[in-house]
């Protein structure tokens, strides 16, 4: 019998906004149900409705049964006995999910004591045991720490410890790893699997990351505009999707093991829940739309083999064996003229040579004193040739953003050199610096925060033009809007009238206004939904080829990097660990950190995820104020652990610098014992062979 049974759940918010419009699913014991959807699809609201945690002004109808007991409409007295006991929930952002003023141990003990009659000291001991179970080192000490003293990954572990404190039958995980770095994500997913083994609970896993779902879920529910549009076993959904939205979603995600070339975007935007189109809500974006689609919303109908699909053309898709790439138009991106010239003969647009940026570490609320140094960027060198994209990747805290800021400032660095378009930043005067800013522009991560909400889009784009005293601004703005796929009429509107993807296009238009030669892209697509992301990536690729731009691209998503970049530099604690052409680094990574990073990325491919061998890193990134001696990665390095005592000495004493690997032209790694291996598709089976 299933643990949880949800039937025709609907949630309506004031103003007639139907956030969830009829969701049904059940979860068996020990089963993982994945719920996938983009932001606004109603996946989080569904799970909050199950927990009874929605704001009081939300109207919920339908049925939610736990072990056959109806939860909707239950009195608070009864409901508090279910929450945290039979059903637990893990939230997305583990920093804001803990009360900042109580210790982690107290908060876990509180969860224990709400449901079990237990003395305070016993509950505290139980909290320590739980922290130990989820792999927190020194749980005795760490239980007395406050949430802000934990790193993101540790907090999410503690969150899991709290969720499993009362041996729940069902765990609801709402984007549990979205806020984490990939290597930490891999650790946390392992902990979740352990937690499931320990408790035998069913799991509802809500995420937008199709890679995470592929590795975790047994069954998948795809949501769009508040309704499930496809449901079935994980393999069927990934290998034989029968609803155009699912097909498009799978085709639009860049893959770390994927081919280069344009991605397949889904045109348009998800509908607003306040104004749904008539008929199928996906119809306006669907390439397979026929007139009948507008007549009526197709119900989720059984399709055989435990599958349900909400599409009138599902049988046709099945019959013809169509995939996303067949159905959705693949954009054609004109090739670049520049890249025909060999790299060595092209001009260098950006050169960094041993650049350093150290921050003083200050302490004290009123009387500040210096207690140390943060080695944010500690001597990095790379160059970008004309028409080339270099991606800077690494986990949070590795110095990517500091590097960007240092380049954008055009000031002399503390040490080393920054040369932009042949001009050394240390030798610039004020006018030269301003002139150079026109050639060096930036696109920011969060498109909402980067655009002034009180300025019309036309003024936003015109601002750099006016600042540099250009004439004929209006015509140029219209041209730029067309260039990024918007209409000139849009110049009159304000940023909040645009969707996330469109806002990012506005940000790109502004960056292109001065016709720069080098564009710095700071995580340009990480705040966007998958189906929108593909369109922006294609736009960037097309602009680069058409306008002969060079990109410095900062990202933590290695799959996006593989698509967009020509070369990649992997950073770790302010140093470059590995650098080279994308194909070399991805297919034959030589640095143990790159290897771990690549193997940690989940692939949207259930078959491969099941057999894949992961290199799990231990612990968190060390503090950049106190980096380990010698090789900075050695404290977490899986290779270091396997070395002999004599070999290890070299790692401890001598800091490795980037050395070119012997057999290829463009590939270097900063490891004394670099060894190229294949990790992305490495599986257990291969190991045995």
């Amino acid at each position: 019998m299933s643990i949880l049974e949800v039937r025709d759940l609907t949630v309506t918010f004031p103003g007639g906004i139907e956030a969830v419009r009829g969701v049904s699913y059940e979860v068996e014991r020990g089963e993982v149900l994945g719920i996938v959807g983009e932001s606004g699809s109603g996946k989080s609201v569904t799970s909050l409705a199950v927990m009874g945690l929605l704001p009081q002004n939300a109207v919920v109808s339908g049925s939610v049964k736990l072990h056959g007991r109806e939860l909707l409409g239950m009195k608070e007295d009864e409901l508090v006995k279910v929450r945290g006991k039979a059903i637990s929930m893990i939230f997305q952002d583990p920093l804001s999910a803990f009360t900042p003023v109580y210790t982690i141990g107290d908060q876990i003990a509180e969860a224990v004591r709400v449901h079990q009659k237990m003395a305070k000291d016993k509950a505290a001991k139980r909290a320590v045991e739980l922290l130990d179970l989820v792999g927190i080192p020194n749980p005795n000490l760490r239980a007395k720490a406050f949430p802000h003293e934990f790193s993101g990954g540790m907090r999410q572990r503690a969150m899991i410890a709290m969720a499993i404190a009362n041996d729940p039958d069902l765990l609801i995980c709402d984007e549990p790893t979205t806020a984490l770095d990939v290597t930490i994500q891999a650790q946390v997913l392992e902990v979740l699997k352990t937690a499931q083994r320990e408790t035998g609970a069913g799991i509802v896993m809500i995420t937008h990351d199709l890679g995470v779902i592929a590795g975790m879920a047994d069954r998948v529910l795809v949501m769009y505009a508040g309704r499930p549009v496809e449901q079935g076993p994980v393999d069927d959904i990934y290998y034989r999707p029968r609803m155009p939205y699912t097909m498009g979603l799978l085709a639009s995600i860049p893959r770390v093991d994927g081919e280069e070339g344009p991605l397949v975007p889904i045109e348009g935007n998800p509908p607003s829940p306040a104004s749904l189109p008539p008929g199928c809500p996906f119809a306006p974006r669907c390439p397979m739309k026929v007139d009948m689609c507008d007549d009526e919303e197709p119900p989720l109908t059984p399709f055989g083999g435990g599958r349900h699909v909400a599409c009138i053309r599902a049988h046709e898709i099945e019959h013809k064996g169509l995939t996303g790439a067949d159905v959705f138009p693949v954009p054609v991106i004109p090739p670049s003229d520049v890249v025909r010239v060999p790299r060595t003969e092209r001009a260098t647009v950006l050169e960094l040579d041993g650049m350093k940026k150290h921050y003083p570490l200050m302490k004290g609320a009123i009387f500040k004193r210096r207690v140390g140094t943060v080695f944010a960027v500690d001597g990095i060198s790379f160059d970008i040739a004309e028409g080339e994209t270099l991606a800077l990747v690494g986990e949070s805290g590795c110095g990517k953003t500091t590097t960007l800021q240092q380049i954008m400032q055009l000031e002399p660095p503390q040490d080393g050199r920054v040369v932009v378009l042949g001009k050394d930043s240390a030798k610039l005067d004020k006018t030269a610096r301003k002139a150079l800013r026109g050639d060096l522009q930036i696109v920011f991560q969060d498109p909402m925060a980067a655009l002034d909400p009180r300025m019309p889009v036309g003024d936003i784009i015109a601002e750099p033009l006016r600042a540099h005293g250009r004439k004929d601004v209006a015509a140029k703005v219209a041209e730029l809007l067309r260039l990024v796929g918007l209409a000139p009429e849009h110049a009159e509107r304000y940023p909040q009238q645009f969707s996330g993807g469109q806002r990012q296009r506005i940000g790109i238009a502004r960056a292109l206004a001065l016709e720069p030669k080098l564009l710095v892209l700071d995580e340009p697509v990480s705040a966007l939904d998958v189906s929108i992301q593909a369109g922006v990536i294609n736009l960037l690729e097309e602009l680069k080829n058409r306008l002969g731009l060079s990109y410095l691209f900062v990202a933590h998503d290695l799959a996006v990097v593989r698509h967009l970049a020509d070369r990649v530099a992997v950073m770790y604690l302010g140093r470059i660990a590995e650098i080279g052409a994308v194909a070399n680094v991805y297919d034959r990574p030589a640095h143990p950190y790159t290897q771990a990073l690549l193997s940690a990325i989940p692939l949207p491919d259930p078959e491969m995820e099941r057999t894949r061998k992961r290199i799990l890193l231990e612990g968190d990134l060390p503090s950049p104020a106190d980096p380990p001696s010698g090789c900075r990665f050695r404290t977490r390095c899986p290779k270091f652990a396997r070395l002999s005592e004599a070999e290890r000495r070299r790692c401890v004493d001598e800091e490795p610098s980037v050395a070119r690997l012997a057999n290829v032209v463009d590939h270097g790694a900063a490891c004394h014992y670099a060894e190229e291996i294949e990790v992305i598709t490495a599986s257990d089976n291969q190991e045995e062979e």
Partner: protein, 325 residues
Amino acid sequence: MGKYLLRRLAINVILVAIAASLAYMLAATTMNPRAAYEGRQPPVPEATIDATLDAYNLNDKTPVLTRYATWAKGVVTGDFGKTWNGGSVNQEMGRRVMVSLRLLLIGTLLGFALGVALGAFSAVKQYKLSDRLIGVTSFVIMAIPVFVLATLLAIATYNLNRGLGFTLIEYTGEYNPQLSGWDQFVNRLNHLILPTISLSLGSIAFYSRIQRNMMLDVLGQDFVRTAMAKGLRRRKALTKHALRTALIPSATYFAFAFGTMFTGATFTEKIFNWHGMGAWLVDSINQNDVNSVAAVTFFAAVCVLAAAFLSDLLVAALDPRVRVS
């Protein structure tokens, strides 16, 4: 930590010295204590006036810097000098601080506690009738100056007492000196009712607005949802997790209000006829009493700096994120 406190203390001493010196200079150069002795009937000989003023260090014929030096020397040894008519400023201050403390302590604490409770309640009931009612009432009270409010209260009580034919609520003075023991204690409490209401109404209105906003910020946060997901009742999640966190910013306001309460209630003291610090400041300015003005200012400076320190202590106690490790 000890070193940090010492350094902080040293800076505070300097700040108090500057504030008090400036106040003394201002008072000594603009006020004219001689006026109180001149023009008396029968006239006092000028030599006698000079001798009296010299004895009190108030003679405007002595250069101001010399007077300042005498005054400063006294202050360093803990002597604030003489009032315009020869009384001890120290004694007067000691008495008046206690009066102010008795008058204001209950009102200040009550204002904070009720204000926070009302604000938190208001936030939980956002946009409901009770929230709107509390909001409108708060703004009405904040819009009425305290002297109007206090006078209205006094008039209302006067009419009430007259209507009843006996004194139910006292509306002037601190206590009835004819009573003793338990009766006097009850009488003192009775005298406190009106000033406490007039003082706390304003602070309740003020704190409830601040606390409502702080609480609303916190209510939408994930950790309140987490607390409920653990199985806590809504009420417990709101008080233990939300209110506790939302108290941190209000604590700063409270600390400053607490520190400045001694000199901040001039109107209340004057209207209800309590002889506290606030009333003293006004009286001593009227009487050209240089040393008393300087003493009140000195005391106020000490209070403000103590309040700043108290606020740091309170915030550190409430918020583990700012504790110095």
